[in-house]
C-alpha cells in the first residue's frame, strides 16, 4: 500500500527505517519537525538520500565555505561554486566550464561500470550548464601495481573510462595514474570534464515561470543504483556487510551521446528555461534542486515517469540513479518543438510535472499525494556538522622520521642504477598502457595530450583560442603535511598549465579522504581545504567547483589524504603552445628555480626505501607565480622551445621524459659544487626545465632576472644523438630508457 501524506497524518507513530537509510535519530527528528508530522516513506527516501554525505556535504560544508570567503578577485569568473559546475570567461565571447568528481566506491565494487558511469555523470554536469563537452581527463589511484586486486580493478576501470568516453566522442587528454598501498581497498576514480559555450548559451539549474513544464528525458528509469548514493558513498566497506553489487549503476554511453546532441539542440534552439542532470539521488535531487533554485514550487506526477521495470515503487523511482537522464523546464508553447527534437535523436521524453508558486514540492502517485515538502529543506538546508578534529597523535613522529639518514647513491654507477630504477617505478613509468585505450583524437581539436604537462584543446577553430588543464596531487606530501600538500598539488597543477604557455584561470578539486567521523582524518581534510583556499588566494585563481569524497578507508586505515587539484588555463592561440620536449633544432637546457635537499614524500624515498616521513618540499607560491609568468611570457614571445615541469622523480625524471618525448639525446652538465644526487632526484617545488635556442640565452637571463627567478644552465639537447649523457657521471641510451620506462605496466597487466 502506498504511504500517502494522509496516512502519515492518520498514523503518526508508524515506525520508520530511518537508520537503515543512513539517517541519524536527530536528523529524523528534524524532518518530523520540518513537516510537522512523520514523513511518508517517499519523503523519507528523498530526505535520506539528499541529506547523505555525498549529496549534502554535511561534514565538509563548513570548511568548503573558505573557497568562497577567500576567493581572489578575478574578472574571469562567470559562475562560481554552488552550480553544477563553475564557468570561466576565456575571452572572445567564449566561456569554459570544468569540474572533477569522484566515483571511487562504485569503481571498487564494479570497476568497469563504476568508472564508466563516473565519466557519464560528470559529462552531464557540464552539459547542464549549456556547454558542449569538449574533453575528459581521469585522475586515477590504485593499490600497488603488483597486488592481485589491482589486476582486477585497474583494467576494469581503464576499460570503463575508455569504453564510455570513447563512445561519447570526447577526447581523453590526460590525468594521472598513481599507485600506493593505501588505495588497495579504496581505488580513487576521479573524472574531469571540460565544456565550452558561447556566453549567451549559459544555463542554470532553476525552475522558473509558473506553469512551465518539467520534462524528464533520456533513458528510462530502472531499479539500478537505488540507494547507491547514500549507501555506497557513505559507508566504509565492511568485510561482513551485504553484497552491494546491485547498488552500482550501469551505463549506456550510446544513450548519453544521443542525450548530448539532443540537449545541445534544445538549448541552442531556445527551448529550455532551466536544466538539470540526474545523477546521485535521481529525481529527488533534480526536482528539489530545480524547485528551490526557481519559483520555489513544483508539482510532479510520478506515475508518468517512463519505467524500465513496471514493478518499481514510488520510493524507488524517486531514489533511482538510472543513468543518462536529464530534466528540463520548458514553456508550454515550446513543448512540441522540444519533443520533436528529442524524437529526432530517438530520445524518449515525458512531462512529469509543472512549476508552481506553492513554495512546496508536491508529488502525486496515481492521484494520491505522497510528497509535500518545502524543497529547500531537501536540497539546501540539510544538516551541517562541525565535526571534531585534531592533529593526529602520530603526526609529529611522522614528521620527525626524516629521510635524511636513508642511504644515498654516491658513485656514478649507483646514480645510474637509481635513475633507471625510478624511470621504471610504477608511479613514474610510462602510462601508455592506459592512455592508448583512450581516444585522444576525436573532435580534431586536441593539441596536447598525455604525456605532455597538460592536456590542451582548441576551443575556437578560427582564432586558435584554447584551454589547457592539468590535474595533480602527491598524497604522500599531503600525509606529511595536509596544508602544504594541498598547496603543492595546486602549485604542480598551476605549473603544468603554465609550462604549456597557458595562463591559469580557475581551479576545481576532488578532495578524497577517509572517514570524517575520525577526528584525525577530519583534521587532514580541514588542513587541506584551508591550504587550498589560501593557495588559490595567493595565486589569484578561484575554486569554481569540485567534489568531496569521504569514507575512503578500509577498516581503520584511511587512504593518503588526496586533494586532487585541477587547474584550467587559457591560451590565445594554441599554435604557440610550448611542447615538453626539444625539437630537431635542439637548444640549450636551463633549470629554473631552486633545488634543495628535499626528499620527504619523494618518489625516491617511496620506491627505493619504502619510506614516508619528514616534511614535504617547501611551498613558495610567490615563486610559483614568478615561474608561471616566465613560462607564459616565454611562450608568448616565442623564447621557449620547450618547457617541462619538474615534480615526481625530480630533474632526472624530467630530463628522461623530455628525451623520450623528443626521441633524442642530451648532454647534461651538473653545475660545479652541486650534489648530483640532490639535483637529479630532489622534488623541490617551483622548478621547470626549459629549452631555448643558443642565441636566446641572454633573453632568458633577462626575463628570469626581472622575475627574481634563479636559473642554471644544465646542458644541451643533442637531437642527432641517442644517448642521455651526464658529464663525468654516466650515460644511458634512449633505447634503454624507453625499454625500462615502457615495460613496467605491460609486464604486470598483460601477464
Amino acid at each position: 500500500m502506498t504511504d500517502t501524506v494522509q496516512h502519515a497524518i492518520d498514523d503518526p507513530d508508524h515506525p520508520q527505517p530511518y537508520a537503515e537509510l543512513g539517517l541519524k535519530p536527530d536528523e529524523y527528528a528534524r524532518i518530523r519537525e520540518i513537516l510537522g508530522r512523520r514523513p511518508t516513506s517517499s519523503e523519507l527516501a528523498m530526505y535520506s538520500v539528499m541529506w547523505s554525505e555525498h549529496c549534502s556535504y554535511k561534514s565538509s560544508k563548513v570548511h568548503l565555505r573558505q573557497f568562497g570567503e577567500k576567493k581572489p578577485e578575478t574578472a574571469a569568473l562567470m559562475v562560481g561554486i554552488g552550480e553544477n559546475a563553475g564557468v570561466v570567461d576565456i575571452g572572445d565571447g567564449w566561456a569554459v566550464t570544468f569540474k572533477v568528481e569522484s566515483h571511487n566506491h562504485p569503481s571498487y565494487v564494479e570497476p568497469y561500470q563504476g568508472a564508466a558511469t563516473g565519466v557519464g555523470g560528470i559529462v552531464r554536469d557540464i552539459m547542464s550548464m549549456g556547454a558542449r563537452p569538449i574533453a575528459v581527463m581521469d585522475p586515477l589511484r590504485f593499490g600497488p601495481l603488483d597486488a592481485p586486486d589491482t589486476k582486477r580493478v585497474l583494467p576494469g576501470v581503464i576499460a570503463g573510462v575508455g569504453g564510455y568516453g570513447n563512445c561519447l566522442g570526447l577526447p581523453n587528454i590526460g590525468g594521472e595514474v598513481v599507485f600506493d598501498e593505501t588505495y588497495l581497498g579504496n581505488p580513487l576514480v576521479n573524472a574531469l570534464c571540460i565544456g565550452a559555450m558561447r556566453h549567451e548559451d549559459l544555463h542554470l539549474a532553476s525552475a522558473s515561470g509558473v506553469g512551465n513544464l518539467v520534462v524528464l528525458y533520456g533513458a528510462r528509469t530502472g531499479g539500478d543504483g537505488i540507494g547507491g548514493v547514500s549507501v555506497l558513498a557513505s559507508e566504509t566497506f565492511d568485510a561482513d556487510g551485504p553484497a552491494k553489487r546491485p547498488s552500482v549503476q550501469v551505463g549506456d554511453p550510446f544513450m548519453e551521446k544521443l542525450l548530448i546532441e539532443a540537449t545541445l539542440e534544445v538549448l541552442h534552439s531556445g527551448l529550455v528555461e532551466g536544466i538539470q542532470d540526474l545523477g546521485g539521488a535521481g529525481i529527488s535531487c533534480a526536482t528539489s534542486e530545480l524547485a528551490s533554485n526557481g519559483e520555489g514550487g513544483m508539482h510532479v506526477w510520478l506515475d508518468r515517469v517512463l519505467l524500465r521495470d513496471a514493478s518499481l515503487s514510488p520510493e524507488e523511482i524517486l531514489m533511482s540513479e538510472s543513468q543518462e537522464r536529464m530534466c528540463a523546464i520548458v514553456r508550454p508553447e515550446n513543448l512540441d518543438a522540444f519533443m520533436s527534437l528529442c524524437r529526432r535523436w530517438d530520445v524518449e521524453a515525458v512531462v512529469i510535472g509543472e512549476v508552481t508558486d506553492s513554495g512546496r514540492l508536491t508529488v502525486d502517485w496515481h492521484g494520491e499525494r505522497i510528497v509535500d515538502v518545502p524543497p529547500r529543506t531537501v536540497a539546501h538546508e540539510g544538516p551541517v556538522y562541525e565535526r571534531p578534529y585534531h592533529r593526529p597523535s602520530w603526526q609529529d613522529a611522522l614528521q620527525a622520521a626524516t629521510p635524511d639518514t636513508l642511504p644515498r647513491p654516491s658513485t656514478p654507477d649507483a646514480l645510474r642504477a637509481t635513475l633507471l630504477d625510478l624511470v621504471g617505478a610504477p608511479n613514474l613509468a610510462s602510462k601508455s598502457w592506459v592512455t592508448s585505450q583512450y581516444d585522444r583524437y576525436v573532435l580534431g581539436n586536441t593539441v596536447l595530450a598525455q604525456p605532455e604537462d597538460s592536456g590542451m584543446v582548441r576551443v575556437d577553430e578560427v582564432t586558435g583560442r584554447g584551454v589547457a588543464v592539468s590535474t595533480d596531487c602527491n598524497g604522500r606530501f599531503a600525509k606529511l603535511d595536509p596544508y602544504a600538500g594541498a598547496q603543492l598539488a595546486l602549485a604542480e597543477s598551476y605549473r603544468n598549465v603554465a609550462a604549456t604557455g597557458a595562463e591559469p584561470l580557475a581551479v576545481t578539486n576532488c578532495l578524497n579522504f577517509g572517514s570524517p567521523e575520525d577526528p584525525e582524518v577530519m583534521w587532514q581534510f580541514a588542513e587541506a581545504a584551508r591550504g587550498l583556499a589560501d593557495g588559490c588566494l595567493e595565486l589569484g585563481i578561484p575554486v569554481t567547483g569540485g567534489n568531496v569524497s569521504f569514507y575512503n578507508q578500509t577498516g581503520d586505515v584511511a587512504i593518503l589524504p588526496t586533494p586532487v587539484v585541477g587547474v584550467l588555463g587559457v591560451i590565445d592561440n594554441v599554435e604557440r603552445r610550448t611542447p615538453m620536449a626539444w625539437g630537431s633544432d635542439g637548444g640549450v637546457l636551463y633549470l629554473l628555480g631552486d633545488t634543495r635537499d628535499e626528499f620527504g614524500g619523494s618518489e625516491w624515498a617511496h620506491h627505493v626505501h619504502r619510506h614516508l616521513g619528514g616534511l614535504p618540499p617547501r611551498v613558495d607560491l610567490p615563486r610559483e607565480r614568478a615561474l608561471g609568468e616566465v613560462l607564459i611570457s616565454g611562450s608568448r614571445s616565442g623564447l621557449l622551445a620547450a618547457a617541462h615541469d619538474v615534480s615526481d622523480g625530480g630533474v632526472g625524471q624530467a630530463l628522461v621524459e623530455m628525451a623520450l618525448r623528443a626521441d633524442s639525446g642530451a648532454r647534461i652538465s651538473i653545475p660545479v659544487g652541486v650534489d648530483p644526487f640532490v639535483l637529479l632526484f630532489s622534488e623541490s617545488a617551483g622548478r621547470a626545465v626549459v629549452v631555448v635556442a643558443q642565441g636566446d640565452e641572454a633573453r632568458l637571463a633577462e626575463i628570469c632576472t626581472e622575475h627574481g627567478l634563479p636559473m642554471a644552465r644544465i646542458g644541451d639537447a643533442m637531437p642527432q644523438e641517442r644517448t642521455l649523457q651526464f658529464d663525468g657521471l654516466f650515460a644511458v641510451s634512449i633505447d634503454e630508457l624507453r625499454t625500462v620506462h615502457e615495460a613496467t605496466l605491460p609486464a604486470v597487466l598483460d601477464a
Partner: protein
C-alpha cells in the same frame, strides 16, 4: 565538389570528416541517417564512431538506415564512398566490401599513431598518393581486426584491392596486415585508421591523411 558526410546516431567523427573535406577544398554536406536523400552529393564519407552504440555488431544496424537504401545502389553505380573505421564496418555489413571487422587481437581498444603503406593509388580515394608511400595517421578502434577467408583474401590481393597495409606493428590482428581495401571498381574504399584526424600537424601526428580527401576531388574533376 560536394562531399556528403553521414551522421548516424552514435557517429563521432563527422565533424572531423567535414573539416577534412573542407581543408581539401571540397564542400562538406551533412547527410542524416534517417533521410534517404543524398542531396545530390558527388561523393560520400561514412565517418567513424559507434553508430547505434555498436550494439548487435558494429555497423549491423546502420546498414538498415534509410540513407543506406540510397547509398548502396549509388555506390554500386560508381559514387565514390569512403568508410572510415565504423564506416568501414558499415560498408562490410552492407556487402559493398568483402570481409568483416572483428574484435582486436589484444581485446583492448587501441589508440596510436600508425604507420601505413599505401599500396594502390588507383582508387578514387588514393590517387593523390605515390604508390608505396608510407604515411602516419591515427588508429583508434576496438574492433578493427580485418578478417576474410583465404580465397577472398587471395582475390583482393590479386586484384590489387588492398589499398593500405600496417607497418611496424599489426595493431589489431588484421589478416595480412590489411588496413584498408577497395571494391573492384575502386570507388568504394574502407579504411580502419583515421585520415580525417591527420589533416593538420597541430591536431594530428601529421597531415598525411589529407590526400585521401584531395584524391576524391581530383577523381571527380577528371571524371567530369
Amino acid at each position: 565538389m560536394r562531399v556528403g558526410v553521414v551522421t548516424f546516431p552514435g557517429t563521432l567523427d563527422d565533424r572531423d570528416a567535414a573539416r577534412a573535406v573542407r581543408l581539401a577544398g571540397g564542400e562538406p554536406v551533412a547527410l542524416w541517417h534517417g533521410d534517404d536523400d543524398l542531396r545530390g552529393v558527388d561523393a560520400v564519407v561514412l565517418p567513424g564512431g559507434f553508430s547505434y552504440g555498436d550494439y548487435l555488431r558494429c555497423g549491423a544496424i546502420s546498414r538498415f538506415a534509410p540513407v543506406m537504401t540510397s547509398l548502396v545502389p549509388a555506390a554500386q553505380g560508381g559514387l565514390p564512398v569512403l568508410g572510415i573505421c565504423n564506416g568501414f564496418q558499415i560498408l562490410c555489413e552492407s556487402h559493398l566490401l568483402p570481409g568483416a571487422l572483428t574484435r582486436n587481437g589484444s581485446l583492448h581498444f587501441v589508440c596510436r599513431d600508425q604507420r601505413l603503406r599505401i599500396e594502390n593509388t588507383g582508387t578514387a580515394w588514393t590517387r593523390d598518393f605515390v604508390s608505396g608511400q608510407e604515411i602516419v595517421i591515427p588508429l583508434k578502434n576496438g574492433e578493427g581486426c580485418f578478417v576474410a577467408d583465404d580465397a577472398t583474401l587471395d582475390e583482393i590481393e590479386r586484384e590489387g584491392r588492398v589499398i593500405a597495409r600496417y607497418l611496424d606493428v599489426n595493431p589489431n590482428g588484421s589478416r595480412r596486415d590489411i588496413a584498408g581495401i577497395s571494391n573492384a571498381r575502386g570507388n568504394v574504399v574502407g579504411l580502419m585508421p583515421h585520415p580525417e584526424h591527420a589533416v593538420d600537424p597541430l591536431t594530428g601526428p601529421t597531415a598525411d591523411g589529407l590526400p585521401f580527401f584531395t584524391s576524391v576531388l581530383t577523381a571527380l574533376v577528371d571524371a567530369s
